[in-house]
């Protein structure tokens, strides 16, 4: 049976070039970059070059790139690190209601520790209104943290505009760009951001490695206290192979972005068109055009997401859902609820996130098997039964 990986927003496969770039640092060149002898110097060089590379690809300076263990650490560090420095100046933080849990749960933690957090609403497409940001800023606002692009529904936020407002008002601005970096053009200067989180495994790089961009001049407390690594701001022996892989993956992603995105947008729109034509009672979640090239998110009425995933899995198709049942929590995705879906419809969502390796043939196979799977679940659903009865009345 063919296997079709449609869950690239969860994680991606590593590119061969990335593995090849990492390999030497697993074996021959394994030294601790903080040491002074030869093999350590090679490591230090690889570290410096990776930092330079990433900085350049983001329009930043090398000294502004700090390596971390991934998106979650970057988000936690940015938010807690800024809150810690400015807690005497103010205790108000602005974020949105559709952030990743790495941001939301960090904000909730701070709320329990004396901070006040405003969770801005989003419109039906999942967009934050920059005017809402402006209105929410108060004298005691010390940080705005709004994600670059959403991981569930793919909606891209008006980051430049929000950044401009933050700048004018003199409020520090962090963006969780974990889903954006390597997928759409991101330039820290143009985006007017002070801090930006990214994670390697979201663009065909290694898991367990990410970075935080910290604009020159921004004060931040460390989250991981320890050795003098990362200019004294983040302790821990550097994960050199991981960092080299991160840089290589980002380089490849940016180099091929235009070409890949052209192809992916075509495939994305082909699938969206196919599904909406073939299946009734379906709704595309997220912004119709201002969305990530890899993201498709549907709600199928009357059915539940986990069942849908299981049946797709049986056909070799790997996707994801905002259903509560897939997360083990009681509520379905906070993102889908935030864009106004009622609970029962949020439970019936399907997220397809494509990669540059997906083909039109795979899309066709998916479009072929999906309608009968959806129908099968509907035929089993008491909600569908009710709907039909009401219609026939």
């Amino acid at each position: 049976m063919q296997k079709i990986y449609f869950d690239n927003a969860a994680t991606t496969s590593m590119k061969k070039e990335v593995i090849d770039a990492m390999m030497p640092y697993f074996t021959e060149s394994f030294g601790n970059p903080s040491s002074i002898y030869e093999i350590a110097r090679e490591n230090k060089k690889a570290l410096d070059e990776s930092r330079d590379k990433i900085a350049k690809l983001l329009g930043a300076d090398s000294k502004e790139i700090y390596f971390t263990s991934g998106g979650t650490e970057s988000d936690n560090w940015a938010i807690k690190g800024i809150a810690d420095v400015y807690k005497d100046k103010g205790n108000h933080i602005i974020t949105s209601s559709i952030e990743h849990h790495a941001v939301l749960h960090t904000c909730e933690y701070l709320e329990k520790n004396g901070f006040e957090v405003t969770y801005l609403p989003v419109d039906e497409y999942g967009q934050v209104n920059p005017k809402d940001v402006e209105k929410a800023i108060k004298d005691n606002t010390i940080l705005i943290t709004i994600m670059y692009a959403n991981n569930e529904i793919g909606t891209i936020q008006p980051i430049e505009e929000i950044g401009k407002i933050a700048k004018e008002k003199g409020v520090i601005f962090h963006t969780d760009a974990v889903q954006a970096v390597g997928h759409i053009p991101v330039d820290v200067k143009k985006a007017n951001v002070d801090l930006l989180s990214l994670s390697g495994h979201k663009f065909h790089g290694p898991k367990g490695v990410g970075a935080l961009y910290i604009r020159k001049g921004i004060k931040i407390k460390p989250l991981l206290h320890g050795g003098a690594q990362e200019r004294g701001r983040r302790g821990g022996t550097e994960n050199v192979p991981g960092i080299v892989g991160l840089a290589k993956a980002l380089e490849l992603a940016v180099e091929n972005m235009e070409e890949n995105n052209k192809k992916m947008i075509e495939l994305r729109d082909y699938i969206i068109k196919g599904v909406t034509e073939k299946i009734e009672h379906v709704k595309l979640n997220g912004h119709p055009t201002n969305r990530l090239p890899n993201n498709i998110n549907f709600t199928f009425d009357f059915i539940e997401g986990e069942s849908l995933l299981l049946l797709l899995d049986m056909k070799g198709i790997y996707a994801s859902s905002g259903s509560a049942c897939t997360s083990g929590s009681l509520d379905p995705s906070h993102v889908l609820l935030s864009i106004g879906l009622p609970h029962e419809r949020a439970h019936g969502s399907l997220r397809i996130t494509i990669g540059d390796e997906n083909t039109k043939a795979e899309a066709d196979y998916f479009l072929e098997v999906l309608p009968s799977i959806v129908q099968r679940l509907r035929d089993m659903s008491p909600l569908y039964e009710e709907y039909k009865k009401q219609k026939n009345r």
Partner: protein, 145 residues
């Protein structure tokens, strides 16, 4: 989360899916807000469950427990059916992941709701049967920390 082979079999090939017209008793529990609804139809004759069907909106475990629970009551007396607990359904499925235990509870409740409906319609009393609960059916697995 990982399902047992039995769960996957009952999910992929659910037994007794459907409706019964003019059923002797119908029970519906759960709600769409929480992501699962189970509706069980019973055809009862001479105290025997002659036929049973279900419709379920829910996850793999919800479907599988519905399927297994209906299988387990088919042909049984009402009194036998009353003894089928969520634990029995789970065991028959070779277990469920902790976060899915509530699905088996739902299956037990749906069955009892259908029996309750039957009892109400026929003005009889079934020993041990309580009126169906409404509202949140979720049993949140306890955190052991």
């Amino acid at each position: 989360m990982m399902y047992s082979k039995k769960v996957m079999d009952h999910f992929m090939n659910p037994r007794n899916v459907g409706e019964i017209e003019n059923a002797s008793g119908v029970g519906e529990v759960g709600n769409a807000k929480c992501g699962d609804i189970m509706k069980i139809y019973l055809d009862i004759e001479d105290n025997i469950i002659k036929d049973v069907k279900f419709k379920t909106f829910g996850c793999g475990a919800a479907v599988a427990t519905s399927s297994m629970a209906t299988e387990m009551v088919k042909g049984k007396t009402i009194q036998e059916a009353m003894k089928i607990t969520n634990k029995a359904v789970m065991e028959a499925l070779d277990g469920l992941p902790p976060v899915k235990v509530h699905c088996s509870v739902l299956a037990e409740e749906a069955l009892q709701a259908a029996l309750w409906d039957y009892a109400q319609k026929n003005g009889i009393e079934i020993e041990g049967l309580k009126p169906p609960k409404s509202g949140d059916h979720h049993h949140i697995p306890e955190n052991d920390e």
